[in-house]
Symmetry: C2
Subunit: 188 residues, 2 copies
């Protein structure tokens, strides 16, 4: 694959992630291409149909979130810290986009990302619970949904950076609800 093609592909994915998070729904193809600073033809060459684009976006985001999450888990001193770090980094990596490909998740023909994500999240939750900081009735699903919710745009007209700050604030609140001890507000 030629270098410029690779670069444009990544620009398109990043633009798509941004727009999905801003709009809270599927953005138009024209909008994605123009945000990526790329011709509309280029978008269609890389992603012939909507489905392939959405799938690529999901894998892109899942991938980098899982990688970052595994790293955070590895060098966290406690289950509570791992949980907190995971939730915040998931926001920063754009995990919120998966609300859009929800219907695709069921019959996903994609690789082991899904299993890997589930296993990571379960490990974190298990560890937090056996450390005694996380309430036993809280589930991995609660954690996942809390992150997705935090990523949804809150109010039309709010600039992206404010949205992001509010998302982190909200996740801290959820963290307190999911755990027994108040979490230290994180700085990112």
């Amino acid at each position: 694959m030629r270098a410029d093609a690779q670069r444009n592909r990544e620009r398109l994915l990043d633009a798509a992630v941004e727009l999905i998070l801003e709009v809270g729904g599927e953005p138009s193809r024209d909008a994605i291409a123009s945000r990526a600073g790329v011709g509309i033809g280029t978008l269609y060459r890389h992603f012939p149909d909507q489905q392939s684009l959405l799938k690529a976006v999901a894998l892109h985001v899942l991938d980098r979130t899982i990688t970052a999450g595994e790293g955070a888990l590895a060098d966290s001193a406690s289950g509570g810290e791992a949980l907190r770090r995971y939730m915040h980094l998931a926001i920063d990596h754009g995990l919120g986009v998966i609300n859009i490909i929800y219907p695709l998740i069921e019959h996903a023909d994609w690789p082991d990302q899904r299993a890997r994500a589930a296993s990571l999240l379960l490990t974190i939750v298990d560890r937090a619970q056996s450390d005694g900081v996380m309430r036993p009735d809280a589930t991995a699903t609660d954690v996942g949904f809390a992150v997705i919710r935090a990523c949804r745009p809150l109010a039309v007209g709010l600039p992206p950076d404010e949205e992001r700050a509010l998302a982190h604030r909200h996740v801290d609140i959820c963290l307190d609800g999911l755990t027994d001890t108040p979490s230290t507000p994180s700085s990112g």
Copy 2:
């Protein structure tokens, strides 16, 4: 005002609320009319432009939420109970729609609803805090935003009743985060 006109007006408002909550954004006028079981002409007669419709929707929802909230506050035994009841009833009354009219809130020419809502929320938060159940660093804004977030659709394709159940579950988690003591999961 003729009885059927009044009835249709209310149907339109209710349909608009439903759709806004389902879609998470502004629904089309055609969709609203058809959901309300009313001709498109009827919609335009009642609400000549988008702005007047959105404003009416907001007032409609604010009104019934405030009324219910004041009632709940009046017969709650504690600040904690008032807070919990308020958050859950706000979901049920559709307070989530206000994310859509956010840009209108600033220069709103509408009556005292806004002040009434603010005062109700502040009273509840004050009471919860002086009762010692709510963390002092949590704010009325946190409460409001938590409710709005809980009302946003979580995943495309999820049926409305599941969305609603998840919203209540989420609010319970936030409630635990905002308060010092775990809240009893409410049944509505």
